[in-house]
């Protein structure tokens, strides 16, 4: 689903965006604005990771979540505002490409979901040290509905679906950081086994250029990895760290907050690849 398929009548307007101020001013310095966009992503990402990991019960556990939120709020806002401004600018200068990009659809739906979730759920939950209010639950449902659509496009659109690798990997890492003790070793052993079986299957039993048969096998393994990561993540959600003032719902907010932004960034990168 590309934006052109949603809004076909907008094409003349989109084609002209590059001639509109400020697009024609920034076009010659496109690469420098990309750098600013990435730096904004870094600021936003660092704050999101630390705040949400704290909600999961990992990282800066010496401080209550509200203290983390208080310290990171300014920087998170700065990251969000500058990622939006630089995004609009480079988007205007590159509008035609985005108009025909399914990855851009994923990015925009994911972005709105992530903004609603960050300001309607994550920040509020952190401020109240883990309590999830009714209004936060409603905001979470709205964000999850938008995100589900974004992920559906991401998984089903041709050429960009390999970008889901980033989301699965990020989920895998967050779970790795979160699980402790024996569960962590069982988790790693499961991942190692899946990697080994996938490698043997796709390298020893199938030819490297036999795409027609490799494709369903690799997709099947993507689902298997996701299922294993979710299973161990759920285990962590309901068993670990009950004494840390973080119930299952609070932790789920933490996981979702990180993964929503990762999906936005991953889709953003795959605009260039497909």
């Amino acid at each position: 689903m590309t934006p052109a398929e949603f809004l076909p009548e907008l094409r003349p307007w989109v084609e002209n965006l590059v001639n509109v101020w400020p697009a024609y001013v920034i076009k010659p310095q496109f690469a420098s604005w990309q750098v600013l966009h990435i730096l904004s992503l870094v600021v936003l990402g660092g704050c999101t990771i630390l705040l949400n990991l704290r909600l999961i019960g990992v990282g800066l556990t010496e401080e209550p979540a509200s203290e983390i939120d208080r310290n990171l709020r300014l920087w998170l806002n700065l990251g969000v505002v500058s990622v939006l401004i630089t995004g609009v600018l480079i988007g205007m200068a590159n509008a035609e490409r985005l108009y025909d990009s399914a990855a851009f659809t994923v990015k925009m739906f994911g972005l709105v979901a992530a903004l609603i979730f960050t300001y309607g759920v994550t920040n509020r939950v952190a401020r109240s040290d883990g309590a999830v209010s009714l209004s936060s639950k409603i905001a979470a449902l709205a964000a999850l509905a938008l995100w589900s659509y974004a992920l559906w496009v991401f998984t089903t659109a041709q050429l960009i679906n390999p970008g889901m690798f980033h989301l699965i990997t990020a989920a895998g890492l967050v779970v790795l950081f979160a699980v402790r003790g024996r569960a962590r070793w069982i988790y790693l052993a499961g991942l190692g086994l899946l990697i080994a079986v996938q490698w043997v299957w796709t390298h020893l039993f199938l030819a490297y250029d036999d795409i027609a048969r490799l494709d369903p096998v690799n997709k099947g393994f993507a689902w298997a990895f996701a299922a294993w990561i979710i299973a161990i993540g759920l285990h962590q959600l309901f068993t670990a760290g009950r004494d840390q003032n973080a119930g299952p719902l609070t932790k789920l907010v933490g996981y979702t907050g990180i993964l929503m932004w990762v999906s936005v960034a991953a889709a953003g990168r795959w605009i260039a690849f497909a």
Binding site: A31, Q34, V42, E67, W75, H166, R269
Partner: protein, 204 residues
Amino acid sequence: MMRELLVWLQTRLGKGDGEFDQSWSEALLGSLNFWGILEGTHVLALMLFAGTIMIVDLRLLGVTFRRTAISVLGAKVLPLTVFGFAIMVLTGLALFYARPVDYYHNIWFRAKLVFIALALLNIIIFHVRVQRNQAAWDLAPKPPPAARVSAIVSLAAWIAVIAMGRFMAYDWFECGKPMPAYLNALQSCAASEAGALNLASVRP
């Protein structure tokens, strides 16, 4: 010497006997999705690596987490940074391996290496010199000037590394294009396949 090794890496290593067989490096660059997955991971891991190192630097500058001990922040945040750095290095080496000769003659790549070296040197100086009396300012809302200078150098160097990394993808100063002699020299264009074309020699 270095260039010959990289040419061998890019064009010979892993190459079969057939006329159209690819080296491993060429196969990686021409892969359907693998190169994109590596590059995407390299960029996304910046959130983990640079995002967390930035927060530690901001604490050293005294602009955030002023009530949290620097040792506590370091103990809890820096393991994430190191993990992110490992991902950056692994994916970065693999991406370099896909086009080693091109990057060898790329001015931005060379500058990136210089800034990475600067950032790493800064870390060493911080650990060996600046941190020696950290107990005295571990809880200080605003650490002493030496620590703040370390933080500024760190922020500036990593920002430069990220900028150089993005610029590497552009061919503004590709060898063979007319450019000032010092740019040709800085990226050893004379040794490159396309050669060095000095701007002064093509001007009427």
